[in-house]
């Protein structure tokens, strides 16, 4: 058995991209792991004051409270074991509020603690929500708008636009900027697991409407981010995952469907290329180099 080692994994992403849901879902999957190659809990950390109440909410199918930037969560750890390789690890996974990363774009700074953790981090999990628009929608001249579009409300040609402000920049631009910030703080390459959250929406979408393979979806919907990652693969080796940590929506019917499942872990959806499972530890294993066929990165 190898000696336990400390690993720092950072969750980054803008507001409402599912970071906390992922963290709590991961905690549950570690406890009730079904995949023989997956990570499992090797014990409970001494301080679970942050995770334990959230876990209760998650198990009841409730919508988790939004992480506050003003009152950031206390430090917390996950103690994990990889039975297949005998590896033990302790994860420090700070759950920073999405506003922290939103603010980074405007203030041109990141919290000092985040910068220090970054320099020791094993990997980043970069979150984006499958329903979020990567880019602002461009206006067309009225003469270009086709019949299909005219069913929507047309903009008033004489409408007064608002002044541009930095906070209104598009989401993929903010994420690229964040990664550029990160790159300047790094002394060595860092793996990035790109997690497209709320994947259950895509599962339910009609076939042919959107790509249902995570890397294809990312390439189509977030082209600037993908191109940036591809061009900077030497700094950011990356792999894309589709994830629904909560497994469904928040309507009473959906909550009933989720809680009716015998095993809470079965709510989780994890898609990685052609692989599909409930193993939320898979992105973490890839970051640690513990995923089988680690070279088969799908980008």
């Amino acid at each position: 058995m190898s000696a336990p080692h400390e690993s720092e994994i950072l969750l980054v992403g803008l507001t409402g991209t599912g970071k906390t849901n992922f963290l709590v879902g991961l905690d549950v999957v570690l406890e009730y792991q079904a995949d023989l190659n997956g990570l499992v809990h090797s014990g409970h950390a001494d301080d679970r004051a942050y995770l334990q109440p959230l876990r209760g909410q998650w198990l009841r199918g409730e919508d988790l409270e939004h992480t506050s930037r003003q009152a950031p969560p206390p430090p917390h750890q996950l103690l994990v074991h990889h039975p297949a390789s005998g590896t033990h690890a302790t994860f420090h996974i700070p759950d920073l509020a999405g506003e922290t990363f939103d603010a980074q774009f405007a203030t041109r700074s990141i919290p000092r603690e985040f910068g220090l953790r970054l320099q020791q981090a094993t990997g980043l999990i970069l979150f984006l929500h499958c329903k979020h628009q990567a880019e602002h929608e461009l206006l067309e001249h009225p003469t270009i708008i086709d019949a299909e579009t005219t069913a929507k409300t047309l903009p008033n040609p004489s409408a007064q636009p608002t002044e541009w402000s930095i906070e209104q920049s598009s989401k993929q631009v903010k994420l690229v900027d964040l990664l550029q910030f990160v790159a300047e703080l790094l002394s060595s390459p860092i793996r990035v697991a790109v997690v497209i959250s709320a994947w259950d929406h895509l599962d339910q979408a009609p076939a042919g409407l959107e790509p249902k393979e995570p890397s294809l979806f990312l390439a189509k919907k977030w082209p600037l981010l993908v191109q940036f990652l591809e061009c900077n693969r030497a700094t950011f080796p990356f792999k894309t995952f589709g994830v629904s940590a909560r497994g469904g929506g928040t309507s009473p019917e959906e909550i009933e469907r989720l809680t009716n499942l015998v095993h809470a872990r079965d709510r989780v959806i994890l898609v990685d290329g052609g692989h599909r499972s409930n193993d939320l530890t898979r992105p973490v294993r890839w970051l640690l180099g513990l995923l089988e066929n680690p070279d088969s990165s799908n980008g």
Binding site: E135, N156, T162, I166, V176, Q227
Partner: protein
């Protein structure tokens, strides 16, 4: 930045309202929506600038129709930075600095060589994109001035540039949709060809390259979209720069003066 890494500098120039900033905004938009196929976005130090110039063309801005915030004189010598990789050459990364000469400076540059000399971007640029506004070409009262401005500006650049042969010039007939939508399309098209031939005759042996394109960066009709043309112009900026042979003179071992060791009397 320019001292730490080789940079290709691009200067966009032309009269007010010719569409210089809209052209730059469109390049940013095409990268953000994945339209560029031959090049990949590798980074930018001016992401905010690209966002800002495109804002009035987004639904989020609340504008009724697409527009571009124009560049003001106070913003001269500010640059857009973009780093790209050719899709076919992933190992090669190219930094571009793109600036537009505010339209309100244009008449002064045209009339006074000293002001042209002051424009650092003119003396340093690897590529000059000169915009001929087709909105003026379709107006018979304005088209001659538009042609005269183009010829005059290129002549001024020829005088101000130390080595004009190191400059690649692209003349863009901008807002091309104004011509395609006109009832006199053929006549206006012919006039553009006259301008093109005139410029070619005067400058083909002056500059390192001379190209002509028709562009509608934000057209008023779908048929006028010119994304391939914009991509072709952008691709030219990434081409290898023409190399110039070094002088073959050898050092005079016994010069009359130190400064005349390389051939001066």
């Amino acid at each position: 930045m320019m001292s730490s890494t080789p940079v290709t500098m691009v200067l966009c120039a032309g009269p007010q309202w010719a569409g210089k900033t809209t052209f730059l905004a469109r390049i940013g938009e095409m990268f953000r929506n994945g339209t560029f196929k031959d090049f990949r976005f590798a980074g930018s130090k001016t992401l905010c600038a690209f966002e800002r110039v495109t804002w009035l063309a987004t639904t989020e801005s609340g504008a009724g129709q697409p527009d571009t915030k124009r560049t003001y004189r106070a913003e001269k010598d500010t640059f857009f930075h973009i780093q790209v990789q050719p899709a076919a050459k992933a190992e090669k990364t190219i930094d571009l600095l793109i600036t537009d000469l505010p339209g309100e400076i244009f008449p002064a540059v045209l009339s006074t060589k000293e002001i042209c000399d002051e424009q650092l971007a003119v003396s340093r640029a690897d590529h000059l994109i000169f915009f001929v506004d087709c909105g003026s070409i379709i107006d018979k009262a304005k088209r001659h001035s538009e042609r005269d401005g183009a010829v005059g500006f290129l002549s001024q650049v020829q005088k101000c540039r130390h080595e004009p042969a190191r400059l690649q010039v692209t003349v863009v007939f901008s807002r091309w949709d104004k011509i395609t939508a006109s009832d006199y399309q053929q006549e206006h098209d012919d006039y553009c060809k006259v301008i093109e031939n005139d410029i070619r005759q005067r400058f083909v042996s002056v500059f390192g390259g001379l190209f002509f394109d028709r562009v509608a960066a934000r057209p008023e009709s779908a048929a006028s979209r010119t994304n391939p043309e914009i991509q072709a112009i952008f691709g030219r900026w990434l081409d290898e720069r023409p190399s110039f042979p070094l002088p073959t003179v050898s050092r005079n071992p016994k010069p009359a003066r130190d400064f005349s060791a390389f051939g001066l009397p």
